[in-house]
């Protein structure tokens, strides 16, 4: 009897291994067996997806709209990360900006690190002056500031070398394997049950969520809470400001683009008071002081959001189950940026006063 059970278990584990391998490597087949958000009009949030905690499963409507403005015809260019791609409840930030300013705003719909890489790869030519909004979220600010100074490699690998690299990546990369393991229809319910059991019995979340609040419900992404592990970097932001300054100068000299720098605060930066042992290391005020000293134009979202969050009847600026900001936060940013852009267009001579 035991022998039969063990043999059945062995067979099941081999069958599961084959299923996971095929599902992970063949997107066509794997897609049919996924439980996770497959697009559509509703999202349950990336933090819910990472944690699986049903107490934080709230639907967020998605607006499916993409503007058709091209890079050449744009008056304003936005180069940012997923915050500028997010379409929760309203259009994306660049499209809202376009509507508010009644100007053409181009966004590449890609998550960018170093903006110069995008402009080089797309062979952007210096022309009439334009405004470029370079955006990064706070938790990746240091990493991106470092990347602004890296050499841009424009030489493409030869066909065969590229094919070998792509094949190696296809074979050895395991991101899809991990994803399919967690979100396939057979194992996902077990994963959800185990996660919720751990949360309900011991109040422990998984490693992606290092802090949370239950009243009001709010999940905080680990990378936002623990992003100051290399304290030295964050104690000396002036070292990295030079990279932003160089970026600003290069954008102007090489492409005739006037830069406005936007750092979007982490959710934890604004709402750390919901965590009873929460605190903030004042990274943004430190960075902003240095930006001002170096005459780099930026939007002070830290002050704007912090003050707004504490007003009576303030709407949430970030979703409880998402790392990204809400329509209310986007509206504040759009208004702030619009003011700045109009100012720029007058002071820099884009339009007559």
């Amino acid at each position: 009897m035991t022998k039969k059970i063990v043999l059945i278990l062995c067979f099941l584990s081999v069958a599961m291994a084959v299923f996971l391998l095929i599902g992970a490597k063949s997107k066509k087949i794997g897609y049919k067996f996924l439980t996770h958000d497959k697009g559509g009009d509703i999202s349950y949030g990336d933090l819910y997806a990472l944690s699986g905690l049903t107490d934080f499963k709230f639907p967020i409507p998605i607006v499916n709209y993409t503007s058709a403005t091209t890079l050449d015809e744009a008056d304003v260019i936005t180069l940012g990360d997923s915050f500028f791609q997010a379409k929760f409840e309203t259009k994306s930030m660049p499209d809202l900006l376009a509507d508010n300013l009644k100007l053409k705003v181009f966004d590449p719909h890609e998550i960018l690190g170093n903006p110069l890489v995008y402009l080089t790869e797309h062979n952007y030519q210096k022309g009439k002056p334009k405004i470029v909004i370079v955006e990064t979220v706070e938790r990746y600010a240091i990493k991106r500031m470092i990347s602004y100074n890296e050499k841009i490699n424009t030489t493409k690998k030869s066909g065969i070398r590229q094919k070998i690299n792509d094949s190696a990546y296809e074979i050895f990369d395991q991101t899809n394997v991990n994803y399919f393991f967690k979100y396939n229809i057979f194992l996902n319910p077990i994963w959800l049950w185990l996660n919720n059991l751990e949360f309900k019995t011991l109040g422990i979340t998984n490693h992606n969520i290092s802090r949370y609040s239950t009243n009001p419900p709010m999940l905080f992404y680990s990378e936002e809470v623990d992003f100051d592990t290399n304290q030295h970097l964050y104690d000396h932001p002036e070292v990295y400001i030079q990279n932003i300054k160089n970026l600003k100068d290069t954008l102007k000299k090489k492409y005739n683009l006037d830069m406005i720098y936007v750092i979007i605060p982490n959710k934890y930066t604004i709402y750390n008071y919901l965590d009873k042992n929460g605190s903030y290391n004042n990274f943004l005020p430190k960075i902003q002081t240095e930006l001002s000293k170096n005459n780099i134009d930026y939007t002070d979202l830290y002050s704007l959001y912090s003050q707004y969050a504490k007003t009576a009847n303030a709407k949430l600026l970030y979703y409880p189950n998402e790392t990204h900001f809400t329509a209310a936060a986007k509206e504040l940013l759009v208004n702030e940026l619009s003011k700045k852009i109009q100012e720029y267009r007058i002071t820099k001579g884009y339009i007559d006063k």
Partner: protein, 505 residues
């Protein structure tokens, strides 16, 4: 300060997630490889294992397979020529092989360390260091498979092992995937012949292997990775902590490194056992040691025996006077420290262990004569005293092993005794408990961490009694326990892609 720290990993193509025993891909890899192993004819099995091992290795940095291939080729050829040659020629082949292996190890593991220290020396002497900073990524398991390969050539040289003529089998000996990246460091006499033996599918052996793997996963995912959260928080921010926090971090790290490393070894040994291979035991309850000398007979046995056979004994071992013996110990442990990492803190850790043994040798006779605090009348108490004092000395040395710098280590040592006067009063302060005892983590996590340590201590202390207990020998009870362990691993385990500590060696 270099503000242009570039992402070396992305430049040379490392993947975000690599295959380790605690990765999802291993849950696919292991059953498939094992299934195929028992399905295909025996004569092709070595080829399957070699292909699987190559895939396992390439999942880290694919192009590094060429480095491994080079070391395999060098030692394969060296082995053949060593067997054929005599006298001085034979010696030269050995030296060439050892130099080649040592050279590769030096370049990938110690070049940066060497260059960094040269920079400091150059700054002192006001001249420019011409050697550029190469930012070399250490190939996975380099220290382990290099030592395993070196033991092969040394044993062939000594005439204790016949040279392996089959290149494929030799390659498999060097890179057999269960023990490729973190040991146990096998000897050719133990492992090579096993690749020629036909292993039949055996349910009992499979069960034994799987149980050992489950125990290894439990130690790694449930115990080590949970303790790592606390230890890392403190050791990466030492200046924010003192007193109880530092003590907790040191003790947690002692168990973290033990469970991490012995967990890996158990998984490796278990995985090999499932397929019918016997690997050497690597840990034997080191924290019940009653002396540092005993500790080193129980901790990382494959490495300590390697150093004993190939460094300590050739230097003269213990067949020399006490002072010469002390010198041999010091050299052996300095090299051992350096093997663990290209940092002075590792070297110092090795030195400290060497000093412990030297002092132990010098005071051994004296200790045997005196009856410390009359404890010899009470053997149980005496054992507790000896075990706890050995554990304390080990933990003291671990401070240097784990600390990021010497300053951090000295800070820990200096401040571990600070803040205890008000400790009883502070126990009523919720903030103090959260920040200094729970180290900023949730109470449930701390509770799990302490339960984890207790369960380890109990199971290891009563291991023999458990193994011979009639009730627990009943298959259904044993299987239930292991199912419970699997449940605990998946429910309460820490899945943060925490790498095995010894990976970096």
């Amino acid at each position: 300060m270099n503000a242009t720290a570039s992402a070396t990993a992305s430049q040379i193509g490392i993947f975000k997630i690599i295959m380790t025993f605690n990765s999802v891909i291993f849950l696919i890899f292991f059953p498939l490889v094992t299934f195929l192993y028992f399905t295909i004819p025996h004569k092709y099995r070595w080829f399957l294992l070699l292909s699987a091992s190559i895939f396992f290795y390439m999942s880290f940095v694919p192009k590094y397979i060429f480095i491994l291939a080079l070391t395999i080729l060098i030692d394969y050829i060296a082995g053949i020529y060593l067997e054929k040659s005599i006298g001085q020629r034979k010696k030269w082949f050995l030296i060439l092989s050892l130099l080649a292996n040592g050279g590769i190890l030096f370049f990938f593991k110690y070049f940066g360390f060497f260059d960094h220290n040269l920079d400091k020396l150059a700054a002192l002497l006001h001249w420019r260091n011409p050697i550029p900073d190469l930012k070399i990524l250490l190939p996975i398991g380099l220290s382990f498979h290099t030592f395993q390969s070196m033991s092969y050539t040394i044993e062939v040289y000594r005439g204790r092992q016949k040279a392996e003529k089959n290149l494929g089998i030799f390659a498999l000996y060097v890179m057999f995937y269960p023990q490729l990246v973190a040991g146990p460091i096998e000897r050719p006499q133990n492992l090579l012949h096993q690749f020629y033996e036909k292993h039949e599918f055996n349910l009992q052996r499979m069960g034994s292997g799987l149980r050992l793997m489950i125990w290894g996963f439990f130690k790694k995912i449930f115990i080590a990775d949970r303790l790592a959260v606390f230890a890392n928080q403190v050791f990466n921010n030492v200046y924010d902590y003192h007193g109880i926090s530092l003590l907790i971090a040191v003790i947690f790290f002692a168990f973290q490194i033990y469970c991490d490393f012995s967990g890996y070894s158990d998984i490796a040994i278990g995985a090999a056992e499932v397929m019918g291979f016997k690997l050497m035991k690597n840990f034997n309850r080191p924290y019940i040691s009653q002396s540092i000398s005993e500790f080193w007979k129980r901790w990382h046995i494959s490495l300590s025996t390697w150093f004993k056979d190939y460094v300590y004994i050739p230097l003269g071992g213990s067949r020399v006077g006490l002072y010469h013996l002390s010198f041999n110990l010091l050299i052996t442990f300095l090299i051992s420290g350096l093997w663990h990492g290209a940092k002075w803190t590792f070297v110092f850790w090795g030195l400290l262990n060497g000093i412990y043994l030297i002092v132990g040798n010098f005071t051994d006779t004296w200790f045997k004569k005196i009856n410390f605090a009359g404890l010899k009348k009470f053997p149980a108490l005496n054992n507790v005293w000896q075990i706890s004092s050995t554990f304390t000395l080990t933990c003291f040395a671990w401070i240097f092993f784990r600390a990021n710098t010497f300053n951090d280590a000295f800070y820990v040592i200096k401040n571990i005794f600070i803040g205890w006067k008000n400790f009883p009063d502070q126990l009523t302060n919720h903030y103090f408990i959260h920040e200094n005892i729970f180290i900023g983590q949730y109470p449930g996590s701390f509770a799990l961490a302490t339960i984890a340590i207790m369960s380890l201590l109990i199971s290891e202390h009563y291991r023999d009694k458990i193994a011979s207990n009639h009730l627990l020998l009943k298959p259904w009870i044993r299987n239930l326990i292991y199912i419970a362990l699997v449940f605990l691993i998946f429910c309460f385990g820490e899945f943060k892609d925490q790498q095995f500590i010894y990976f970096q060696f």
